[in-house]
């Protein structure tokens, strides 16, 4: 008996208690909400609204999270400037393409061509910014200790923020509204805002496309080889620097596209818009398992949905007023929980000694 008690690690016990408390709180809140009907009375449509808006927000997180995950997979480095890749493309495309096209009426006459042009510009600019950052700020530090590029990334993030603030000013820029995307689609009796639907569909298409790019093409294979072992990959005749640049470019292209979708939904952009989504997407990437592409997608969607559904569900059930401003608390509590109990993320693989 006494031997058994000695074996218990008190830290572990504490962590288990912590986990149990959080789960009990969530279940308690949910039960109170659903069965005792605390707080507002929501209809089924309301719950669908929560879910769909969370899903579209989550697919934006997922697209941005891909950039974190790809770069981490290859370089084991958190690229904190990724939020700025997202912002730079969108800001530029809005100011130089979207607003002029909208003013001339072209965007409403040819919405598809217009949107493609906006998206292409955003992706190209994001790629340009990313490749430049990689070349100037990260490549010279390839062999430096891991903390060094991390700090450089934070510096790069500030640099790009204030660079674009200098270019476009610090006020909000309205993103044009597309006439064709106003209103709602009716899917099996469920009303969904057109912009939301477009965002979800576009994200899924891009996620699947990226997955095939990495898994089925030669370049993708090179990326995976570099992720596995840079030195051996080089010995096999893979241009490591070029592959790393391509990885950055791919992530940035996703971020640029995500930025335009962000503009479509929220209809306003500004120089600081990359910060919060960047942090959230990083959270999503860690949630899903950093380094894994399906993990980033899943983590993003999960985070978006829990942010939207969590406050009305269990926070309101617990009787907490003004729950929606606490959605960040939910997001980051999730992060802490995952870091404590499943450091490899929801579907991440356990990292080998060398990678960890």
């Amino acid at each position: 008996m006494s031997q058994r008690f000695k074996d218990i690690d008190y830290i572990d016990l504490l962590l288990w208690l912590f986990r149990a408390v959080i789960i009990i709180i969530v279940i308690w809140g949910t039960v109170a909400k659903i069965f005792l009907g605390r707080g507002n009375a929501y209809t089924a449509d309301d719950w669908i609204d929560f879910f769909v808006s969370g899903l579209s927000q989550g697919s934006l997180y997922a697209l941005i999270a891909l950039g974190y995950t790809l770069v981490y997979g290859v370089l084991f480095m958190i690229n904190f400037a990724h939020g700025e890749f997202f912002m730079s493309g969108t800001m530029t495309a809005t100011v130089f393409v979207a607003l002029p096209l909208s003013a001339s009426g072209f965007l409403d006459e040819h919405p598809i061509i217009g949107m493609l042009a906006i998206m292409l510009t955003a992706m190209l600019i994001s790629i340009g910014v990313a490749v430049l950052t990689e070349r100037v700020a990260y490549r010279p530090l390839r062999r430096a200790p891991r903390l060094v590029p991390l700090i450089t990334a934070i510096g790069a993030s500030f640099f790009w923020q204030y660079f674009f603030r200098g270019l476009y000013g610090s006020s909000l820029v309205p993103f044009p509204e597309l006439a064709v995307l106003q209103g709602k689609y009716n899917l099996f009796g469920i009303e969904i805002l057109k912009t939301r639907a477009v965002v979800v569909v576009a994200s899924v298409v891009m996620l699947v496309g990226l997955y095939f790019f990495v898994m089925r093409t030669k370049t993708g294979k090179a990326i995976r080889a570099v992720a596995e072992d840079k030195d051996v990959a080089a010995l096999m005749g893979i241009d490591v620097d070029r592959t790393i640049a391509i990885t950055f470019a791919t992530g940035a292209a996703m971020a640029g596209a995500a930025g335009v979708l962000y503009g479509l939904v929220f209809r306003q952009v500004h120089f600081f818009m990359g910060f919060v989504p960047g942090i959230k997407a990083f959270t999503a990437a860690v949630l899903g398992g950093i380094g894994s592409i399906p993990g980033a997608a899943l983590g993003g969607l999960f985070l978006g949905v829990i942010e939207a559904v969590g406050p009305p569900l269990f926070l309101e059930g617990l009787g907490i007023p003004g729950g929606h401003q606490l959605k960040d608390v939910i997001a980051f509590t999730m992060l802490v929980l995952v870091l404590i109990f499943r450091p490899q993320g929801i579907i991440g693989e356990r990292l080998a000694e060398k990678k960890a």
Partner: protein
């Protein structure tokens, strides 16, 4: 003997030189110390306004008011007045940084700022603790002049939101005839204070607050929030937040079917062209409460024409006149309390300046007759409700 004589001579000369330098030696007897301004030096005042970011128009507008006030006032006792502009960032961190920077310069006599109440809370503490004085042209949160939380060196020429929240509640209840309202804030002292006053006043009038919600100021997805609000079935939604969140809420609310025909209303935090541009057509028909700018006095006419001439724009926001009054009050008080040396040296006592400003009574400014109470509320508060019509704010009440 000769050496002694030389020594005495030197001492005498030295003493003469010293006394000449000191003029008739001004003595600082102020409890909080003095600012000494040398004969040809300028008098330095600082501003801490939000001059970058999404809310920059709020701060720039006030800063223009300060600059024009300095121009109009001219030299103070033969000294030029110089402005050191700082940025309050419309956040607690920004308020703290700008205040720290200001109090680290002992030559700064007083501060015009901050723009945002959220910045004002930490800034007023730092500025007051250092013995400085600040007059805010646009902080409206009740907390700043609450007897419990007021800082000794803090005054304001902007209205207290106890007045603004009440005015909006009256407009909603009496004019629009709504009985169920919702309020949304972002946790900032300004927005939370205003939303709370609105809630209390509306309930007092006999209405019902069906939802009192909060959202993070940097939120992007506000649809869940509005779905929650819509489920409570309000006829009127008041969201006294800033430009970014205000624009998002306005646009998203138009997408939610359950909010069709619900009145939307915001406050002076969004009363700028930036907001109209960000919100676009979604803002049409919404109501905005803010200071009543229908002043009819000569100074304001002259002020407006100078503003347009100097900055080439219509006023960007609604607190330029309050900033003008705040600056003029400060300069006038400096002029009255400064001790003047023979050579033009000024000695400005910080406690004396404080006492002078808090004793302001019946001062005729642009914004009305200003009288400061012991907690720093100086405004002659007049609130107007505007409606957004054809992409412009149009005052409709009272």
């Amino acid at each position: 003997m000769k050496r002694t004589f030389l020594f005495v001579l030197l001492i005498t000369l030295f003493a003469l030189v010293l006394s000449a330098c000191g003029g008739q030696a001004l003595e600082c007897e102020d409890a909080l110390g003095c600012v000494e301004v040398a004969p040809d030096d300028p008098i330095i005042i600082a501003s801490a306004l939000v001059i970058t970011g999404p809310n920059e128009q709020l701060g720039l507008d006030s800063q223009y008011g300060v600059e024009i006030a300095i121009d109009f006032y001219g030299d103070v006792l033969g000294h030029e007045v110089q402005l050191q502009p700082e940025d309050d960032g419309c956040s607690a961190e920004g308020g703290q940084t700008s205040a720290q920077k200001i109090v680290s310069n002992p030559q700064i006599v007083g501060v015009i700022g901050t723009s945002c109440s959220g910045a004002g809370v930490p800034a007023s503490k730092i500025v007051s603790d250092a013995g400085y004085i600040m007059i805010s042209p646009s902080n409206t949160s009740p907390a700043l002049t609450d007897p419990e939380t007021h800082e000794a060196g803090y005054l304001r020429t902007a209205h207290n939101d106890k007045v603004q929240g009440r005015a909006m509640a009256e407009y909603a209840y009496n004019v629009l005839g709504v009985r169920k309202a919702a309020a949304i804030h972002d946790g900032d002292p300004y927005t939370e204070g205003l939303a709370s006053v609105f809630r209390d006043s509306f309930t007092e009038l006999g209405g019902e607050i069906v939802a009192f919600e909060a959202e993070a100021p940097d939120a992007t997805n506000v649809e869940p929030l509005l779905t929650t609000v819509a489920a409570a079935g309000p006829e009127f939604i008041y969201y006294p937040v800033f430009v970014s969140l205000g624009g998002l809420i306005t646009k998203t609310a138009r997408d939610i079917d359950a909010l069709d025909g619900v009145y939307l209303a915001a406050a002076d935090g969004v009363q700028s062209p930036d907001f109209l541009e960000a919100a676009g057509s979604a803002a049409e028909g919404m109501y905005v409460s803010g200071p009543d700018l229908s002043f009819t006095n000569e100074t304001y006419d002259r002020f407006l024409s100078t503003y347009q001439e100097k900055y080439g724009t219509e006023p960007l926001s609604v607190f330029h006149a309050h900033a003008f009054d705040a600056t003029t009050l400060l300069l006038k008080a400096i002029e009255e309390v400064a001790q003047e040396g023979d050579d033009g040296t000024l000695l400005i006592g910080r406690q004396a300046l404080r006492d002078k400003l808090f004793a302001t009574s019946g001062y005729q400014g642009i914004t009305g007759t200003l009288t400061c109470n012991e907690y720093g509320d100086c405004a002659d508060p007049k609130i107007a409700v505007s409606e957004v019509k054809d992409g412009a704010f149009e005052a409709i009440w009272p």
